[in-house]
């Protein structure tokens, strides 16, 4: 079985279920996950973030190959869960409006 992620990032493969292509999916996973699961993902990704960016910066941002796209989507999930770890200390916005009722217009079909 070929690697799901580019070479040198195999250590992140246990978290490949966070490699989701849309904000709607990434937010759904953030809300549905436990804090330990989110923290484990965050702790694995944060020290690798600069290395991931340095590697992916050599690809066109909107046209990456499959493995690089997965890696980019992992990075986007780091952006999604950052607030859960750094601000709210829980998956959802504290006392916030339910994000599942929020339509991501930029991802809607016209």
């Amino acid at each position: 079985m070929s690697n799901l992620l580019p070479d040198h990032f195999e250590d992140l493969e246990p978290f490949v279920d966070w490699a989701l292509p849309t904000e709607r999916e990434r937010n759904n996973k953030r809300i549905a996950s436990t804090m330990p699961a989110i923290k484990a993902f965050y702790d694995a990704m944060l020290p690798r973030a600069r290395a991931i960016i340095a590697y992916l910066d050599s690809f066109p941002v909107n046209e990456m190959p499959v493995r690089e796209t997965r890696l980019m989507n992992l990075l986007l999930s780091l952006a999604e869960v950052a607030n859960a770890v750094e601000i709210f200390k829980q998956p959802a916005v504290i006392d916030g409006y339910d994000s599942r009722r929020t339509v991501m217009v930029h991802e809607e079909d016209e």
Binding site: L46, I53, A82, I87, V93, D95, S99, M104, V105
Partner: protein, 414 residues
């Protein structure tokens, strides 16, 4: 109170008043019927953006249940934007159903019986026309609505004889923002929510900074409030007839691990507008190099700690302008107790993976902050009509809220 003069905003604009705001009538079903007629069928409404209609034949629709209609806006072959009620002359079927599209062959055809219109709204073909009784195609084109464009924004007016041209309606605002690069900042992202509350409760939430230190204490309280200025008193306020502007200060944000990485790769999307907004290398046509080159209505006081300006265009079009980006809020009443709100961001798009990461992080912060903003609205509505309270008690810095209700009452009683 203004920091410079020590005067209260209510002293500078006494017409806005200081009395508690009576709310029972404002939030009633009867008042909503007034608003539908005297506000939404009278005022100019923004229904779309011209960057969505680049070519002749491009169209968009905006459903307006508040006015019992749907609007079709088309880029004509004359280059201008024309708007019509989106309603076939035959038996009233909605003509275009897609939110956006192209008039193939320069025509739009009704799905029901094939009646065919051109981009000027003319009825050009009726299948089986000979079976009708003296049907005049010329008299049965689409019903036009007054349409004018300001900057990126397509406005319509449903009054058969609008009280104002759009330029008159936006008098003062258009001049103060002349030169702001609205059409050069692409659409970036947007969120839409369906709220169980009266539209005005949702508007109020965007029109004061008093809540920043409380509702947003975990997210952006550090950016907007400080020990010296805990309640986000505006730098400046200006009234333009029905419309108004407030210019807001800000402060450098607290550091967070992911925020530090994001700022390293794309400071331009930082929510803290004080983050080097003048200095960063940018395409010249979307950012002002210094305060003096800005339009008079952007950072009007030329304050060093300026973050962004709110322009509230009555009744339901809010703009937040910063240097190199802007966002909008719109509220569309669906009933006296239901509102669709859409918030849209316009900013340069990411070009690299690092920028894409920074952009995503800042989008998420924005979104989580708006989730905080939306959190009080339905809960307020649950109790607002209990009869337990009859007034809002509003402070001097909640000026825009008091002034908005002044405009609402003025239009409803006109």
């Amino acid at each position: 109170m203004t920091a410079t003069s020590g005067k209260r905003w209510s002293d500078i604009y006494p017409e806005v008043g200081t009395e508690p705001l009576a709310i029972d009538r404002l939030m009633s079903p009867d008042f909503y019927e007034f608003e539908r007629e005297k506000i939404f069928r009278t005022c100019w409404l923004c229904v779309g953006e011209i960057i969505d209609l680049p070519e002749p034949g491009d169209f968009l629709i905006k459903d307006l249940p508040v006015c019992s209609t749907s609007i079709l806006a088309v880029r004509g072959y004359d280059g201008a934007v024309h708007a019509f009620h989106n309603m076939c002359s035959h038996r009233g079927n909605k003509l275009a159903w897609e939110r956006r599209g192209k008039c193939v062959g320069g025509t739009l055809t009704c799905k029901f019986h094939g009646w065919c219109y051109d981009t000027a709204g003319r009825l050009i073909a009726v299948p089986g026309q000979e079976k009708f009784f003296n049907l005049s195609l010329e008299d049965n084109g689409l019903t036009p609505v007054a349409t004018e464009v300001w900057q990126n924004f397509i406005f319509i007016n449903l009054s058969p004889r609008p009280r104002w041209t759009l330029r008159e309606y936006l008098s003062g605002v258009a001049e103060d923002l002349d030169g702001f690069p609205f059409t050069r900042l692409p659409f970036a992202f947007a969120y839409r929510v369906d709220l169980k509350c009266n539209w005005k409760i949702a508007v109020d939430a965007q029109n004061e900074g008093y809540h920043a230190a409380f509702l947003h204490k975990r997210t952006i309280g550090d950016i907007f409030s400080s020990a010296q200025d805990p309640y986000v008193d505006p730098l400046d306020i200006k009234i333009y007839g029905l419309h108004q502007r407030a210019s807001l200060p800000g402060y450098p944000p607290n550091s967070k691990p992911v925020r530090e990485i994001a700022n390293e790769f794309g400071k331009r999307w930082s929510m803290s507008r004080t983050d080097d907004k003048l200095g960063e290398a940018e395409p010249e046509d979307v950012r002002f190099a210094n305060y003096e080159s800005m339009p008079p209505g952007l950072n009007p006081t030329r304050a060093a700690n300026w973050t962004f300006d709110i322009y509230m265009i009555f009744p339901n079009f809010w703009l937040g302008l910063s240097n190199g980006a802007y966002n909008t809020h719109q509220w569309w009443p669906m009933g006296y107790d239901r509102t669709i709100q859409e918030v849209r961001m316009h900013q340069l798009l990411p070009r690299t993976a690092g920028e894409r990461f920074s952009w995503e992080y800042n989008k998420t912060i924005n979104r989580d902050v708006w989730l905080e903003d939306f959190s009080t609205l339905e809960k307020t509505w649950e109790v607002l009509r209990s009869g337990a309270k009859h007034h809002f008690n509003l402070q001097d810095g909640e000026f825009m809220v008091r002034n908005f209700y002044r405009a609402v009452n003025e239009m409803a009683d006109f």
